[in-house]
């Protein structure tokens, strides 16, 4: 029998830092009950959505890429020549890297380029526009819990832009189309949207996975690719100890054959869109994880995904990760248990999970021991210092320098959520260098005392002293965002 839970005092510091992206220097200060303020953010009608007609849908982005690739053979050869001729930057420092555009763009702008300005690379342009939309959303939120949820789920179901241009140009759209609509919705809906999304299909090679006995398999002598099937089981749903076997992986890969992306010729439908290609599908009933699936076509994969979403192993795996992302590197089994119970009881209602976290006593009482990851730290710094975020390029660079290149994790397990991963000497040094620069970019010279009061009202005396004794405003701002209270959440 559970004891009656008395909720600890909810502080604004916890609301801002554990749940959100930190307090903002600009804008009206929030007041009242911090829990209610977070709840209010969750109940915004369009919570988590980005409405920006200028951002292309995935098919639009891929069609742009198809056209660009076809027309740019010459241009690329020229750019390669420029690159090998040494047009790239000299050995750059952190600050210089952050302040300069990516090489791909600098070549376009270089004075050494031919007089006729080549069309800007749409991959870079769209990637940066998507980055800007994400940055604007995170900087603009009063607290930012929903945007933290977006980042969490986007990293859980990550794609990586390093896979190729077809992933880089759709990574932002993937987040907008497959993650954001469901951060407060149902896990199963997010799962379905993610796995069929062209960015994921490309990233984990399912777009070219072909049933060996399908018509396409017979003709082209191509075969099965298990990549997506394995990662769905291991990373997206059950977890590595979730009780599946190699036979399950292979069988699931057969189920997923035919899930692919329409090519530029548009033979199967709208170019750049997801499609189920029956010609590539390994037809027939399948047995995996102790169940029998006799559906035809696409419905078979959807049925497997629905069962995976409802598995108790998935509830445990997701709840543990969720608690780790927000509360502690090693969250107590009790909070994980409470979240898993909510997940199970609500059929994977992610909104209910979010509410449960806000209502959980541990979430408000656990000490702030985790280091902000680079995205969290940069957004928090931009909010705290009121920095101009119209140029997302700078933040994108900083993320790369800090070891968290946007939408570009090293593998399908995403970026680490544990503090140790970010607490490296090089990582901390880079934080110092970037903070040092951000301090100097701070405009209107806010008074350090006022800023500290606003951003870190609970700062320890040592932090207060260091900030107030700084020799200049920029130094004070940099010390503030490097302070343990700011770096930890």
């Amino acid at each position: 029998m559970a004891p009656v839970m008395s909720l600890p005092q909810a502080t604004w510091s916890t609301a801002y830092n554990r749940f959100g992206f930190g307090a903002r220097r600009l804008g009206a200060p929030l007041a009242g009950d911090p829990r209610e303020a977070i709840e209010a953010e969750l109940s915004e009608p369009a919570a988590g959505q980005i409405r920006n007609a200028e951002l292309p849908s995935t098919p639009q982005a891929l069609v742009t890429l198809y056209e660009y690739s076809a027309s740019q053979a010459d241009e690329r050869a020229r750019a390669d020549a420029l690159r090998s001729a040494g047009v790239a930057m000299p050995t750059p420092t952190t600050a210089a890297l952050m302040l300069s555009p990516p090489v791909s763009e600098s070549i376009m702008d270089s004075k050494d380029a031919r007089p006729q300005k080549p069309a800007p690379n749409p991959v870079v342009r769209i990637y940066l526009a998507e980055a800007k939309a994400r940055l604007d959303a995170a900087c603009g939120a009063p607290i930012g819990f929903v945007e933290r949820l977006v980042a969490f789920w986007s990293n859980h179901f990550c794609v990586s832009a390093s896979k190729g241009q077809n992933v880089r140009i759709t990574a932002g759209a993937f987040e907008r189309e497959a993650i954001r609509p469901f951060v407060l919705g149902r896990f199963v809906d997010m799962l379905q949207a993610v796995e069929r999304h062209p960015a994921m299909q490309h990233y984990l090679d399912n777009a070219q996975s072909v049933g060996p006995n399908s018509r396409a398999g017979q003709n082209a002598k191509r075969g099965l690719n298990e990549n997506l099937a394995r990662e769905i089981l291991e990373l997206h749903t059950l977890g590595v100890n979730g009780g599946y076997t190699q036979a399950d992986v292979t069988e699931f890969a057969r189920v997923l054959t035919g899930w692919t992306v329409v090519g530029r010729e548009g033979n199967l439908g709208e170019p750049g869109a997801f499609v189920f290609n029956a010609n590539a599908h390994e037809a027939g009933p399948r047995d995996l994880l102790g169940r029998h699936y006799d559906q035809d076509g696409r419905a078979q994969g959807e049925a497997v995904l629905a069962d995976l979403a409802a598995s108790p192993a998935t509830a445990r795996h997701i709840s543990e990760k969720f608690a780790r992302a927000f509360v502690a590197d090693s969250p107590s089994p009790t909070i994980v248990g409470r979240l898993a119970e909510v997940f199970r009881k609500t059929g994977g209602d992610l909104g209910a999970m979010a509410h449960a976290l806000v209502a959980d006593k541990d979430a408000w009482s656990a000490p702030p021991t985790q280091l902000r990851d680079p995205w969290q730290m940069l957004v928090a710094a931009y909010r705290a210092l009121g920095l101009d975020h119209s140029d997302a390029n700078r933040v994108v660079h900083a993320m790369t320098l800090l070891g968290m290149p946007l939408w570009t994790p090293g593998g399908p397990n995403g970026f680490p959520d544990a503090t140790d991963a970010w607490l490296s000497p090089e990582g901390v040094k880079t934080r110092v260098e970037i903070a040092n620069m951000l301090g100097r970019l701070t405009k209107e010279a806010p008074r350090p005392r006022d800023l500290l009061e606003r951003i870190l009202p609970d700062a320890a005396e040592s932090t207060r002293e260091a900030v107030l004794r700084a020799e200049s405003g920029p130094q004070a701002y940099a010390l503030m965002i490097l302070s343990p209270e700011f770096q930890r959440r």
């Binding site: 750059p92 420092t93 952190t94 600050a95 210089a96 302040l99 300069s100 555009p101 763009e105 702008d109 004075k111 101009d388 119209s390 140029d391 390029n393 607490l423 490296s424 000497p425 090089e426 990582g427 901390v428 040094k429 880079t430 110092v432 260098e433 040092n436 620069m437 100097r440 970019l441 701070t442 405009k443 209107e444 010279a445 008074r447 350090p448 005392r449 320890a460 040592s462 932090t463 260091a466 107030l468 004794r469 700084a470 020799e471 200049s472 405003g473 920029p474 130094q475 004070a476 940099a478 010390l479 490097l482 302070s483 343990p484 770096q487 930890r488």
Partner: protein, 405 residues
Amino acid sequence: MMLSRHPSRREFFGLSGSVFAAANLPRWASASGARDPRLVVIVLRGALDGLSAVGPLGDPDYADLHRELALQRDGAHSALPLDSFFGLNPAMKAFGQLYANKQALVVHATATNYRERSHFDGQDVLESGMPTPGRTESGWLNRAILALPVAERARGGALAVGYVPPLVLRGQAPVLGWAPAELGPPTDDFVGRLASLYDHGDKELARALRAGFEADRMINRGGMNALKAGGDVVDQMKKAATGAARLMNADDGPRIAALAFDGWDTHVAEGGATGRLAQLLGGLDEAIAAFETGLGPAWKQTVIVAITEFGRTVRVNGDSGCDHGTASVAFLAGGAVAGGRVIADWPGLKAINLYEKRDLKPTTDLRAVLKGVLADHLGLGTSKLGDAVFPGSANVTPMTGLVAA
């Protein structure tokens, strides 16, 4: 293009971008033969120890009170003699040469009217020109531009060096922005402050920080760390000055510029003729030299003013540094300066002569110096100087004779 906007990509490429920006401003009418003055204001943030920059060697209490930080007449690092009483920090060789050529002077025992010891408030008063801190909308240099006759103003662009313009040049008058391509790494002082903050409250971060910067030193600095660490700062100052001078030397370039150099808050291991302060002064010296070189013939019509928010204690503290004080020095250099002298109503260093028994007492209002430069170099009238430019300073008489006739 104003720097109050986000700096464009072009600006990050360096000078060419900013010259392009300058070309969009009204051209200076450079009628041949007409006076075409250049004014550079350098803000030394952190509170410069005037007593180790320009030592009162003839004061009987100086050596005892300022101890290991005091400059000396003799020895391996002897001060550069300025007159029978004052000696210049030997790190400032170029300034010493300009002084000998009567193109540089020092104002000693000077301070604004600010008498507390907060850097931020002190810099606020220094740069805003307001009688009290916290009214930071604009700086005195910007308001000085607005106070120029319209025809003169149309000739002028002003240049703020740095990604955020120094307060002294912020305001309604349009300002060009330019920053060296890189801001430079954090200084050793900054890392030291952070390390001591982490030591208090976060051992993990402290360990990572030390390891990070230690590795950096071993890789990049190979055993010369103290020297090279200072070298980074020196390099930054020189780069900023070189770029600013190049822009100001263009026919249609800006005539007024403001720069800010950080790092003067020497609470620990300040050093005197050698060490940290000397490295910083060496950087300032190189910056001044870079202006002389870069401005070419325009140097003749140039005044550079280097100022700080307040000075440091006369006595050395327990860490071989000095704490926040009151009066300090101001440096003036340039072909248009009536130089070769130290201007000081020396208050003395005996206990009864110190401000609050600890600081060099201010005997010259720094605003009088600045107003003197604005009056004689840019031709601003006394009433505007006492009202629009330095509000509430009508009783502070502009110092005359700073600029060569």
